[in-house]
Structures are given as C-alpha cells and as structure tokens.
Symmetry: C2
Subunit: 206 residues, 2 copies
C-alpha cells in the first residue's frame, strides 16, 4: 500500500497506540484488545480496529492483539525500528528543556546537535551538548545527514530557520514557534503551541 | 447556541484563526478573507467560512472579514476577554520553560504559581516565582480559585496530580506527561507530547 493511500489522521493516531502498547509491555502485559486500547485512549474500539486493519491483520477474532507483535509492527510502520538523529534550533528555555528531555530516545529519536545565533549562547554547554553557531548549521546537518529537527526560535526567525533546514536536507520539522511556516510538500511539518491548547479549553470554561 | 452543539474539532481550529488574525492586526492590517486565512493555515476557505458561520455572521460577501471585529468576537467566543490565572505542577526542565515563557499573557493566560514535591526544588526561585510545596496545592488553588493548570511531572505522577487538581476545582488541564489521564467530564484535558508528533512524521521518512 502506498504511503499516500492512508489518511494522515490515521497515521496521527498510530503513535498513541504505540505509546499505550509500550506502557502495557513495560507492565509485563502480553495481550490487549481494541476495547481496552479504546478506553485508555478515548477512541472507539471500532476506530482502532479500522485504523489497524489498514496495515494488515494484527489480531484474531476473540483473542485480541499480541502486544509485542503489534508493537513491533507499529514500530516498522512508523519507521521507528532505528533511532533518528535530530537537531534543535534555538537554545532558549524551550531548546534547553528539549535538549535535556530524557523521553525521546526510547521513542525513536535522539538529539545530536543544538544551534543558536546568539554569541552569548554559542559555545555554552547544555547537558552534553555545546551550542553550535547557526551559521554552520546547513553544512553540519548535511554532513551528518540529519533528517529531523525541532525549531524553538522566536516566531520572527522560524521561517528563515525552516528554509535553512530544508536547504540542509531536513524532511521533518517540529515547530515550537507560535507561527505557521511553509516548506516544500516533501517536508513534514508539525506544530506545538501550548496557548492554542489552552484557548481550545477556555471555550468550555464559565 | 449551546456549547455542546458545536463540534470540538471546530473549537480546536478557532485558536489558529485567532493567532493568524492577531499577527495580521500587529502588522497593521484591517481586512482579510477566508481565502487568505486558509492559505496561511493550510485549511480550506470553505472550511473556515463554515466554522465561523456557526457563531454568527462575521463577514460580508465580497468585502471579507474586518480583522479587529473578528478578533474581538473570537476572543469572546473562546472566553479570552480576560486573563486566566494558571498553575504549573512540576518544576523540572519543562516546568521551568513554561514558567519563564513570555508568550502566554498576550494569548489570555498567566502563570501565578508553580508546585513541586521535591524538597530540593521547593522554595527555589524560577523567574519571579518561588516553587511551592505540592502538599499545599489543593488549598492554594482553591483559595485563589484557579481554573487552569499545566502538568509537567513524570508520567508516574500525572494521574495523582490530575486528581488533586480536579479536587481543587481546576477545570482545564494541559498535560505534558506522556500518558493519558482521566478526569470527570466537566474537566477539559489536552495533551502535549512532542514524541507523538515526531513519530507521526517519521512514517513519511525514507
């Protein structure tokens, strides 16, 4: 099945299934069901069965899903059967927190470089990383063939940084700057903006 | 119109419209169109018109939307015509970054307290905040009548903290711990987990 055949909204739910299954696996569990996954995730069991059926036959009627097997298959589908190197652009508070975050590696990603344009930050240590000059970014990313980046710059720099990342060959960008950026169609873009989540919730507050 | 009549997915797009309009307003712009908003946001113009029409008549055929008027209406709809106080639970790297983030206030929220359970962190300063003992959390939140919280604890503490926040009267929780939590139906929950965004993108990588 071609990658473009499956709706992106389905792809977006697979990491949630993966996360739930990894937790069950850590707890020593061996079998689960679409019902149980659904209750854990607030997604209907029918939706989960339909999503997974797009990729093959993972469960047997009545016996549920083998957790390890489904985990392994989801890791393959999501190209997570190896660790992706990743760079961070922006060594402010968010960049700091991302560089020190311990939760990426066991989910398929590792930070390998962090860049900034501030002479006061370049050369400083963040955990095991030395902040690199953004002027060297394109060359360094090309050399290391990194394909994944997180942008944690001010909004005013996000597009310019995105353009440079694309030039360097990056194909997946997680943007923490509170602004939409544009990139060619073969580059994946995702956004994290806590204020939009807060505003979505305040609608329901009295 | 009752709040429950409008699909949550529509509500979820309103903050994106708001953000784009605020940027246009900052740039001194006065009028926009569903076409322009759509191109900026990667959403179809028809979808934007349909979403906005659920709340009233904001634009005139052929003349587009008055930016200031639409902004004002969206702020009212999203209950953002005043600033919401907000607490942070967890004074680790993510809690730190959130406490120091300057981008909440002009989008309707301000951090007023940060809590942790680590004796080494309690009493320490983060920017203008002193980290408070989570043991006092329920009482302090009740006293201050705070309704919004961000949880930046390890996954293992997220449910327990959520329960305490609910007990204290919090009605909207943005959870940074990489785990689903449960709360009563009158409590809004949103999640931020960068690894799920990265995994969604790695599906498309070669």
């Amino acid at each position: 099945m071609k990658k473009t055949d499956i709706p992106d909204i389905v792809i977006g739910r697979l990491p949630l299934y993966l996360r739930a299954l990894q937790r069950m696996s850590q707890e020593g569990r061996q079998v689960t069901s679409s019902q149980e996954l659904g209750e854990l995730l607030g997604i209907s069991a029918a939706q989960i069965r339909k999503d997974l059926s797009q990729f093959g036959e993972f469960g047997k009627q009545g016996t549920g899903y083998n957790i390890e097997y489904l985990l392994e298959q989801l890791l393959k589908i999501l190209n997570l059967d190896h660790i992706w190197d990743m760079v961070i652009v922006g060594a402010g508070d968010v960049g700091h927190a991302l560089a020190r975050y311990q939760g990426f590696r066991n989910r398929g990603f590792q930070v390998t470089m962090i860049f900034d344009n501030d002479p006061d930050k370049i050369g400083k240590k963040i955990g095991n990383f030395t902040v690199l000059d953004v002027a060297e970014m394109v060359e360094r990313i090309r050399e290391a063939e990194v394909r994944v980046a997180m942008v944690a710059t001010p909004a005013s720099h996000a597009q310019e940084v995105t353009d440079k990342l694309v030039e360097a060959g990056v194909k997946a960008i997680l943007n923490y700057a509170p602004i939409r950026v544009t990139a060619p169609p073969d580059v994946q873009l995702q956004y994290i903006d806590p204020a939009t989540h807060l505003q979505r919730m305040s609608y329901y507050l009295k």
